[in-house]
C-alpha cells in the first residue's frame, strides 16, 4: 500500500513537473497543438508528446508454480466404528440421540485405555463458510466436553473443524443437510 502510494506520488510529481516545465516552454512547442507538450520529445522536432512520463514497468505475475507439498489426505472420509452425533441447524447442543451415541463412545474409550479419539465437527452447506468453521469447532468441542463429563480423560481427545467442506451426503436438501450437521469420530 505504502509503496503504491509513494509511487503514485512520484508519478504525479513527475507529471506535474513535466507539465509545469511545458507551461513555461517555448511558445512554438505549445502552439503546435494548443495543449500541453513536453520537453525532450525527441521523435519529431517540435512535436507535442504530452505527459511523456515513462510509467514504471507493469509487473506481470508469471504462472505460479504448484505447491510442492503433497498434502495430507484430509479430504477422505474415514470410516468410523461409531455413529455420528447429529445437530440441528445453527446449533451445537447435543440432542438425546447424540448423548446416547456419545455414551457408546465413552464406554469404548474407557474400556480401551490408550485409545485416542479425534472428533471432527461438520456443518451443512448453508450459510457462510467462515461461520460454519467456528460452528463446527463448537460442535466438536460440545461433544468433547460431554465425553469428558462421562469420564473420558481429556488427554485422549482432540478436535478439528471442517466447517461445511466435507459433507457426508452431497445432496442439497434437508435430508442431506441433516446428515451433514454432525460430529464424526476418528480413532487414531
Amino acid at each position: 500500500m505504502k509503496g503504491t502510494c509513494s509511487w503514485k506520488w512520484a508519478v504525479l510529481a513527475l507529471s506535474v513537473a513535466a507539465l509545469v516545465a511545458v507551461g513555461c516552454a517555448k511558445k512554438q512547442t505549445v502552439k503546435s497543438e494548443g495543449t500541453t507538450g513536453a520537453p525532450g520529445a525527441a521523435s519529431a522536432p517540435g512535436a507535442v508528446t504530452e505527459a511523456p512520463v515513462k510509467e514504471a514497468p507493469v509487473a506481470v505475475a508469471p504462472a505460479t508454480p504448484p505447491a510442492a507439498a503433497p498434502g495430507v489426505a484430509v479430504t477422505e472420509e474415514k470410516l468410523s466404528r461409531f455413529d455420528d452425533v447429529l445437530f440441528d441447524f445453527d446449533q451445537s447442543v447435543l440432542r438425546e440421540d447424540g448423548r446416547k451415541t456419545s455414551q457408546v463412545v465413552a464406554d469404548y474409550l474407557m474400556r480401551h485405555s490408550g485409545a485416542k479419539l479425534l472428533i471432527e465437527g461438520h456443518c451443512d452447506e448453508r450459510g457462510t463458510a467462515e461461520y460454519n468453521l467456528a460452528l463446527g469447532e463448537r460442535r466438536a468441542t460440545a461433544v468433547m466436553t460431554y465425553l469428558v463429563s462421562l469420564g473420558v480423560p481429556t488427554a485422549d481427545l482432540s478436535t478439528v473443524s471442517f466447517g461445511e467442506e466435507k459433507p457426508l451426503d452431497s445432496g442439497h436438501d434437508e435430508g442431506a443437510w441433516a446428515k451433514n450437521r454432525r460430529a464424526h469420530f476418528v480413532l487414531k
Binding site: 505504502k2 495543449t35 504530452e50 498434502g71 445453527d90 467462515e130 461461520y131 466435507k166
Partner: protein, 437 residues
C-alpha cells in the same frame, strides 16, 4: 494566449489529482446518480508501427471491453468512425473534432502503438471532443506481455478523469473451488473481466478464505494441508509461502489492516471463537474481540480504525462494528436471524453481508452505523452469499448457489447491473476482490 490554455490544463490536471471529488461541470460523470447520463465515448483504431499491426484493433478492443464493464460509458461503435488516426495526430496534426462530435462522441481516445523486439510502446490520449482539449495523455513502455495491464491502467485513468475515482480494471478476484482431482478445495484467481483464470494452490487439501494483502502481492488463507486448519500467506507472483497464525484450533483470516501490518482472523479455541490480530512480521497476536459466543469474520474499515465482525452473542449470528481498542460494540444488522460475512467497502461508506431472508440467503449492504440497510443481490431460486467489495466500492462480487450449481457474480452496489464472473467450477465460493492496480 495559447500558453494560458496550457496553464489551465495544468491546473485542471492538478485539481483532478489532488482532490478525490472534483466538482468540474464539464465532462464529469456523477457516479452517485443512479441511471445518470453516460459519457458517449469513441475509441478510435490505433495508429501502429510495423511491429504488430494487430494492435490497431486489438488495443481498442481491450479498452472498449473495460469501459463497457462500467455503467459510465456509451461506446460509439467503430463502424461509425470516420477519421483514421495516424502517427501525425501525435506530432501536431489536430483531430477533426466536429466529425467525432457529429457521430455522437463527446470524448475520443486515440493511440499510437508499436512493438520493437521485446519492447512495447503505447501512447494514449483522451480528448474532450466538444472543447477539442486534451484531458489525459500517457506514454507507456513495457514488454508485449504487459499489453493488457497497460491498457487496463489507462482505462482506470479514463474513469478517474471523469469521476474522480480510479477504475478497477486489471484487478483480480481470489476464490475457492472444488478440485477435480480430489474432493478438496483449491485457491483460484481470475481477472475482474473473467479472463486469466488460474489455480493458485495444488495440494489436494482444503484451502479456504483467501484475503488479499493491501499491496496485492500476498493472499492469506486457511489450509488443511497438515491435517488441521492453519493460516498461511502466499505470494501470488512467486508462490513463496509462510505460516502466520500458529495458535488455536480453527482459524480463518478476515482481512489485513490498511498498512499491511496486521492480519485479522477468527480463531477458535475450545469451542469459543474470538477475533485476534496478528503481526504479519513476527506473529505477535492481540485479542481484539472477545466473548462467550462465536466471534468470527473480521473485516477492517479502510481507515484501519474499526472492524466489522460477526457474533452470535445475542442468540443468532449478527454483524457488529467496533473501534479497535474501544470496548463498545454496535450491532448493525437487523431484521434477520442470520447475518454473516461482512465486507467493509474500501470507499468506507457501506458494509456488505450475507443475510437470511425468507429461507434464502441474500446479499445486503448497510451504513457502518446500522442505518439504511438495503438488499443488493437475491435470487428466487438460490442463495447469494459472501460479498466482497471492489476497490472503488462501486460493485461487489458474491457467490450464487443453487442446488449444487455455483457461480461467482459481480453486481453494482445499487443492485442494478450484474454479470457472471465464473461458472462451471465445482462449489466456487469465498470470493475476495484484490486491491486497486
Amino acid at each position: 494566449m495559447k500558453r494560458s490554455i496550457g496553464s489551465a490544463a495544468v491546473v485542471f490536471l492538478l485539481a483532478l489529482s489532488l482532490f478525490p471529488s472534483p466538482a468540474f461541470p464539464v465532462l464529469y460523470i456523477d457516479i452517485n446518480a443512479p441511471g445518470g447520463k453516460r459519457m458517449p465515448i469513441a475509441v478510435a483504431d490505433f495508429a501502429v508501427g510495423p511491429g504488430d499491426r494487430s494492435l490497431s484493433r486489438g488495443i481498442p478492443t481491450i479498452l472498449s471491453a473495460d469501459l463497457a464493464l462500467t455503467d459510465l460509458f456509451d461506446l460509439v461503435p467503430p463502424t461509425a468512425h470516420m477519421e483514421r488516426v495516424t502517427a501525425a495526430h501525435f506530432s501536431g496534426k489536430p483531430l477533426s473534432f466536429p466529425g467525432w462530435k457529429m457521430i455522437g462522441a463527446e470524448a475520443v481516445v486515440i493511440g499510437l502503438a508499436d512493438v520493437r523486439g521485446d519492447r512495447l510502446s503505447i501512447e494514449m490520449r483522451l480528448y474532450d471532443a466538444t472543447q477539442g482539449t486534451l484531458l489525459l495523455g500517457k506514454h507507456y513502455t513495457g514488454t508485449p506481455a504487459q499489453l493488457r495491464p497497460i491498457v487496463h491502467r489507462f482505462a482506470n485513468e479514463i474513469v478517474f478523469t471523469f469521476t474522480g475515482v480510479r477504475g478497477v480494471f486489471g484487478t483480480e478476484i481470489a476464490f475457492t473451488a472444488r478440485s477435480r482431482k480430489s474432493k478438496g478445495k483449491e485457491l483460484y484467481i481470475v481477472g475482474m473481466d473473467g479472463r486469466g483464470l488460474r489455480k493458485v494452490t495444488d495440494n489436494r487439501s482444503f484451502n479456504l478464505f483467501p484475503r488479499w494483502s493491501p499491496d496485492g502481492q500476498w493472499v492469506a488463507y486457511t489450509s488443511y494441508r497438515t491435517g488441521a486448519p492453519h493460516v498461511y500467506l502466499r505470494n501470488v507472483s512467486t508462490g513463496a509461502e509462510k505460516e502466520v497464525v500458529r495458535f488455536g484450533g480453527s482459524k480463518a483470516p478476515g482481512g489485513f489492516s490498511p498498512d499491511g501490518v496486521w492480519l485479522y482472523a477468527g480463531v477458535s479455541q475450545a469451542g469459543n471463537s474470538d477475533i485476534y490480530r496478528v503481526r504479519v512480521v513476527g506473529g505477535a497476536a492481540e485479542k481484539v474481540v472477545e466473548g462467550w459466543g462465536l466471534e468470527v469474520s473480521p473485516s477492517p474499515s479502510p481507515d484501519g480504525r474499526r472492524i466489522a465482525f460477526v457474533s452470535d452473542r445475542g442468540g443468532s449470528p449478527q454483524v457488529y462494528v467496533k473501534t479497535i481498542g474501544v470496548a463498545a460494540e454496535t450491532r448493525i444488522s437487523s431484521g434477520t436471524n442470520y447475518a454473516t460475512s461482512p465486507s467493509w467497502s474500501p470507499a468506507g461508506d457501506r458494509i456488505a453481508y450475507t443475510a437470511r431472508s425468507g429461507g434464502r440467503f441474500v446479499v445486503a449492504t448497510v451504513a457502518p452505523d446500522g442505518s439504511d440497510a438495503r438488499e443488493v443481490a437475491s435470487a428466487a431460486d438460490g442463495d447469494c452469499e459472501d460479498p466482497s467489495f471492489a476497490p472503488d466500492g462501486r460493485s461487489l462480487v458474491y457467490t450464487y448457489r443453487k442446488r449444487g450449481y455455483s457461480a461467482l457474480k459481480i453486481i453494482s452496489s445499487d443492485g442494478r447491473r450484474q454479470r457472471i464472473l465464473v461458472s462451471g467450477l465445482g462449489d466456487a465460493g469465498s470470493p475476495a476482490w484484490s486491491p486497486g492496480r
